[in-house]
């Protein structure tokens, strides 16, 4: 196995460009950071200088306040950080999500995918395959049991359940950044013509998506309508609200709302049970097993590094494919959120 290029430091705390002292998605505040996307386990507040896509910077500003040291890097443009050429390329994960291409002074190209997916998503730019020597991949769903079905079929299934129980409302748990907006776009795509009702925690980022030019269907705040009016309607809320008293006040014809959750984890029964979910919707913003393995085959890197998730299975697959691979065992990544 090749050694780590001299210009790059790899520890359990993350990846760092030695010369410029720049960290990638650091778990703690640092003077200089490159951020792949806006999810909280990748983008934290309190860094000095930050390099990211304009969308990711806008999301960070919405979450953490103004980012005085922000350097917007549009996809494809290159910045020189201590002799390392840094460019960002769409990852298809959420709006603004990017892979980081690093080209060292020795000519070695390392691509850090961040979180990514290959399935179509109308709310963000699609994943761009970037040729590289070393591909640093996530492994959130890196087990062959994880095969995400067509997300539109999942949404249609949920709407069918609502149609036969119009006295209840359909409450879909979806993460506030990315998943919620993708579900909105999916609803519009399958022909749901009614407004969609949002929990307060989803309002700000949904508005931000629209400001950034993403077309989404009409939404209203749950707080602005009488609860009874929500029977037969679709309500989106963060997953934490599913088990909350908040959800019990929604119309349910005596049984409570139809509790749905949009997540790749819903493929496994126990995960749906743990959430008390009645209608699991397998809709994920991460690559499934087939996408992960197809991407590695497509890129054909000299070496694969696995950041976080179910790395054992992906490492084993790489060994079967005779691709040298190693696990980075990064700390501070929360792979539960999807």
């Amino acid at each position: 196995m090749d050694a780590v290029p001299g210009w790059l430091e790899v520890t359990r705390a993350g990846l760092r460009l030695r010369q410029a002292d720049v960290w990638l998605d650091p778990a703690r505040p640092v003077p200089r950071a490159i951020i792949t996307h806006g999810h909280a386990d990748h983008a934290r507040g309190g860094h000095g200088e930050v390099w990211a896509t304009p969308e990711t910077l806008a999301i960070m500003a919405a979450r953490y306040g103004p980012q005085p040291g922000a350097h917007a890097l549009v996809p494809g443009a290159t910045a020189d950080l201590g002799g390392v050429g840094v460019s960002l390329h769409p990852a298809g994960h959420v709006l603004g999500s990017a892979q980081v291409r690093l080209e060292g002074p020795d000519g070695t190209v390392v691509v850090v995918s961040g979180d990514y997916k290959r399935a179509p998503d109308p709310t963000c730019a699609p994943f761009e395959p970037v040729p590289c020597d070393i591909f640093v991949t996530e492994a959130t769903f890196a087990l062959p049991v994880f095969r995400h079905p067509d997300a539109r079929e999942e949404v249609l299934r949920a709407l069918a359940a609502l149609r036969v129980q119009p006295e209840r409302c359909l409450l879909v748990g979806a993460y506030a950044l990315g998943k919620a907006q993708r579900v909105l776009a999916l609803l519009a795509a399958v022909g749901w013509a009614r407004p969609v009702f949002l929990h307060g925690a989803l309002l700000r980022l949904t508005a931000l998506y629209r400001e950034l030019g993403i077309s989404l269907p009409e939404t209203r705040a749950v707080a602005d309508v009488p609860r009874e009016a929500l029977a037969g309607e679709v309500v989106l809320a963060p997953p934490s609200a599913l088990a909350d008293r908040w959800s019990r006040r929604l119309p349910g014809g005596g049984q409570g709302p139809i509790l749905a959750m949009a997540s790749g984890w819903m493929r496994v029964r126990a995960r749906a049970r743990q959430r008390g979910v009645e209608l699991p919707l397998v809709i994920s913003d991460h690559a499934d097993w087939d996408e992960l393995t197809a991407t590695i085959r497509e890129l054909g890197p000299r070496e694969v590094w696995v950041t976080h998730g179910r790395e054992d299975a992906l490492l084993h697959w790489c060994a079967l494919e005779r691709v040298p691979a190693r696990a980075l065992h990064l700390v501070g990544r929360d792979d539960e959120d999807d």
């Binding site: 087990l143 049991v145 496994v268 029964r269 126990a270 049970r273 743990q274 299975a313």
Partner: protein, 523 residues
């Protein structure tokens, strides 16, 4: 099959008892014979399909994919049927999927040699839900959070029957229970179990919340023995021992059966005798369970006996409607005529008031006692847990501060979380494992422990992670006994995590010697 598969899917997604009752009831009302009968057999654990072992299912899938990737998937999902259902290659439209009764018929008539091809053929006609249902059915472990009792309650409610009557006739019938459904739908007479040595449902107790409010004079007070609750059923000279869930465990106790020398149905506690003549530990009793043949040495080392609580039938006479005081009288008479070393009476205790009773509970004279039972003297013997008649009042658990050593992924609801925790205590400056706990914590604490394990892993062995030895857990347990199976020489009974003591340094956790002293104190 599709209807049964959707039933299993829906059952798996709800934890509400009423919702489960409704789902099963709707299925039974809408599904024809004999499919619904086979579904009841599957839900109540009475479907036996010997040709398909989990090992066979594993071999089938391992022939179709990389075995390591299968193993890692299984570790994560935590359920064989679900793992195979998710991994089995989807096939396009082809042969029609079998109905539930067709699937059962094919599986029942299988030889071991035919099983792989037939099972694989059926799996190829099904979708993910169908494959899950078929493997669950074939390997005989549904585990969808439905007890046999709940399934029978659902059946009773669906057809407007009394659940006690359903329980009563159930054990004289076999799948697919056609006479039962004929009776349920008013097309036939009530099936009759009289004269057969069948299981009769147990009467159970509620935990006692408020001892001060119990009128002691109206109650029979006795010890709650720490063995296995059994029903000894003798009819026409045929002798059977049934455990709590209605399993026939007679085979494992050939030393005890001859002592059941009268036609009767008797409720009691199965115990073993320690070498000194007292009650042996639960661990010694466990040695005798789940054995087809029992060695002479084991029969002599741990002879079994029954400590009798109640008498349900005397000869062929049903006593269950009589008050406990009268049944107890007849029980005493019955036991007096049986072999004293094999069947004795659970003694009646006297306590003048609640505080003396509490003193008895706290300091029972035998380590084989779990606490007290209080039973209304006028109570009839009714199936299940009826409020206000019988109470159990357990002694307080012991506790020890132990250090987390290893964590393993859980199964079922806990799959993919590190939820099985091995903990240790100090001996000469090193930690020795003293037990394993997988409950006692809330969902929030489980999530916290899972994160802690992931962040403090120092080694991995398949699904097991070794962690840094610095998290103290307060472990509660009912008792602790010497054991050769553990390096520490101790075995805890019913250990659970009482509290996470993240504040306490690991060096201040308990020693093996201190926990062993609790075993001594318990003796």
């Amino acid at each position: 099959m599709e209807r049964f598969a959707s039933l299993l899917d829906a059952l798996g997604r709800t934890s509400q008892r009423n919702a489960k009752l409704g789902l099963i009831g709707a299925y039974l009302a809408a599904t024809p014979d004999p499919c619904r009968g086979w579904a009841m057999a599957a839900l109540t654990g009475e479907l036996r399909l010997a040709a398909v072992r989990p090992q066979l299912v594993r071999k089938l899938i391992e022939a179709r994919m990389d075995p390591t990737l299968f193993r890692l998937s299984y570790d994560y999902v935590g359920d064989l049927a679900e793992t195979v259902a998710l991994l089995w290659p989807d096939s396009g439209p082809g042969a029609a999927a079998p109905s539930l009764s067709e699937a059962v018929a094919r599986l029942q008539s299988l030889s071991r040699a035919e099983a792989p091809a037939v099972l694989a053929g059926m799996l190829g006609t099904l979708d993910v839900s169908g494959r899950f249902a078929l493997v669950k059915l074939a390997t005989g472990a549904l585990r969808v959070g439905v007890s046999a009792r709940l399934a029978r309650v659902a059946l009773a409610e669906a057809f407007g029957l009394d659940v006690g009557e359903v329980e009563e006739v159930w054990h004289g019938l076999s799948p697919p229970y056609l006479p039962l459904f004929r009776w349920a739908e008013g097309r036939g007479p009530r099936p009759d179990a009289a004269g057969q040595p069948v299981f009769r449902p147990f009467m159970l107790a509620h935990p006692l919340e408020d001892p001060g409010r119990i009128a002691l004079a109206d109650h029979l007070v006795e010890w709650k023995w720490d063995g296995i609750r059994v029903m000894a059923v003798v009819s026409g000279g045929e002798r059977r021992l049934y455990s709590r869930d209605g399993n026939d465990i007679s085979e494992a106790f050939p030393d005890l059966l001859p002592a059941l020398a009268q036609d009767m149905v008797l409720d009691g506690e199965l115990l073993v005798r320690a070498p000194g003549g007292g009650v042996g530990s639960f661990h010694q009793l466990q040695q005798r369970l789940n054995r087809r043949t029992v060695s002479q040495a084991l029969l002599e080392a741990a002879p079994a006996f029954i400590r009798a609580y109640d008498l349900l039938f005397e000869g062929q006479t049903d006593l269950r409607a009589l008050p406990l005081a009268e049944r107890r009288h007849r029980l005493e008479r019955m036991v007096a005529g049986l072999a004293p070393g094999r069947i004795d009476l659970s003694p009646r205790l006297e306590a003048a008031d609640a505080s003396r009773l509490d003193a008895l509970r706290r300091a029972p004279p035998d380590p084989g006692i779990e606490g007290l039972m209080l039973k209304r003297l006028d109570s009839p013997y009714v199936a299940g847990r009826v409020t206000g008649l019988w109470w159990k009042w357990k002694k307080d658990p012991l506790t020890a501060d132990c250090v987390l050593m290893y964590a393993q992924r859980g199964h079922g609801r806990r799959s993919s979380f590190y939820s099985d925790f091995t903990f240790g205590a100090w001996a000469d400056g090193t930690l020795l494992p003293v037990g394993k706990a997988y409950f006692g914590f809330t969902d929030a604490e489980l999530a916290w422990l899972d994160r802690w394990v992931r962040a403090h892993t120092i080694a991995r062995f398949g699904p097991v992670r070794e962690v840094e030895k610095r998290l103290v857990l307060e472990i509660a347990f009912d008792s602790v006994a010497p054991s050769g199976r553990h390096k520490s020489g101790l075995a805890m009974r019913f250990p659970r995590i009482a509290r996470i003591r993240a504040d306490k340094p690991a060096e201040e956790a308990d020693t093996v010697a201190a926990i062993a002293a609790l075993a001594q104190a318990g003796r």
